[in-house]
Subunit: 250 residues, 2 copies
């Protein structure tokens, strides 16, 4: 039995999310189906992050165990052939040891949130950005964001349905920058609470639009009350950018 690490890119738009569900097509389900067709083996594919419906991935990581022997190139190409009708691709397949676990071995996750700040709605970036008015001030957002970096109780930025045992997380980086009409928010942490990035972005956008002052996100954080934070930003702007693992496990 060989454990494989898969690097994945997908457009989350048409899916119910990463996780297999009864009510629609999931990325996990598509991969498991492609694996059955390729190898005849019924396997569970474990993803590093359980992205929500509509959330995209530039670099999701998953692992799966296979009996059938084949080269990494053959595995990736074979899965891609079966996935072809769907916007899900295997960028790379790599042999890993039996202790590698896509979720538990991850030491860092990086998310990118894309906002289109202009009057006209998106044409080319439809479904890949959150569309907000042009006067979004990215510098104000960046300044406000810095109070959230570090180890905190993120109860205020956590979805009601979040299953994490503790609301305490360490946010390593939270950067906001504007490139033309595009405002990019990058968030890096070992792990995140459910909807944490989207609630943080929704809160920072209130500051960027001048509806709240720069000190407001810090006060929302301190209050530990979800009702005080901004609205959850839409899923379509969120991209799981990359997952890092400690080198000894690769």
């Amino acid at each position: 039995m060989q454990r494989w690490r898969l690097l994945l890119e997908y457009d989350g738009g048409p899916f119910v999310g990463w996780q297999r569900q009864a009510n629609g097509i999931s990325i996990q389900g598509l991969l498991e189906e492609a694996i059955v067709r390729l190898s005849g083996e019924e396997r569970t594919v474990v993803g590093a992050a359980r992205t929500d419906a509509g959330v995209h991935a530039l670099g999701q990581v998953a692992h799966v165990d296979l009996e059938k022997e084949m080269s990494p190139e053959r595995l990736a190409a074979g899965l891609n052939a079966h996935l072809r009708p769907y916007p899900v691709v295997v960028l790379e397949a790599r042999r890993v040891g039996p202790d590698f676990h896509a979720r538990f071995s991850a030491v860092r996750k990086s998310y990118l949130y894309r906002i289109l700040a202009r009057r006209a709605p998106p044409a080319l970036e439809r479904g890949r950005v959150w569309h907000v008015p042009p006067d979004l001030d990215a510098e104000r957002m960046h300044d406000a964001a810095q109070a959230l970096v570090g180890r905190h109780d993120f109860t205020s930025f956590r979805a009601a349905e979040c299953q994490a045992k503790s609301p305490i997380k360490t946010l390593d980086l939270l950067h906001v920058r504007r490139v033309g009409a595009l405002v990019e928010v990058r968030a890096v942490a070992r792990s995140f609470l459910h909807h944490q990035v989207r609630t943080i972005v929704g809160t920072l956008v209130q500051v960027g639009l001048g509806k709240e002052d720069v000190g407001w996100p810090a006060r929302v954080l301190a209050a530990r009350d979800r009702r005080l934070a901004g609205p959850t930003a839409p899923a379509c702007g969120l991209f799981l950018e990359r997952i890092d693992y400690s080198t000894e496990e690769l």
Copy 2:
């Protein structure tokens, strides 16, 4: 009567191209329909470039004459409201003098061609890139491209159905660069022949993949024979990036 200059963004994927045609939905046709609905006026919308089916625009320019008086913001927002189901948006509407002509007043057009050079097919960039093998050498392509810059007879890089009177054009810039798995080709000229950018890209890709030597595009150019050039690159990778006008006409 007021002449308006419209700056447009669109995803060319679902359309038969810029120009009104009997066999499908065109961007020009959609705009003319939106104008009737907004103002009650039946007008011809003149575009700077007649982009082909599947070709995208980041900054197409068009002009149209309207009797109905309204603010630039109201015109752009009104057209966008009627265009909403389609991936076509007006980025900006601007009043111009009666001598402004979207096509004839243009002094420079800039096209961007996007190539995804990797093993895995695109998931997020599907329909927005040409997918080629990973070993595409962008530096070799750039070196080969420089022989095409300047004033030349581009007969070898012209579609059979091209209606231009003369095959002589001046290419001001032809740059190739790699950013990760993405290879970008940028071409700037006062005007282009039909399929000129796509045929140039198709030819340069043959060099980038090592199927032809760096001097080959120069020899194809000198031969003035379309049969010698590479295949026409697919429409989905091409973006009309911007149109420049001399300042006195704005």
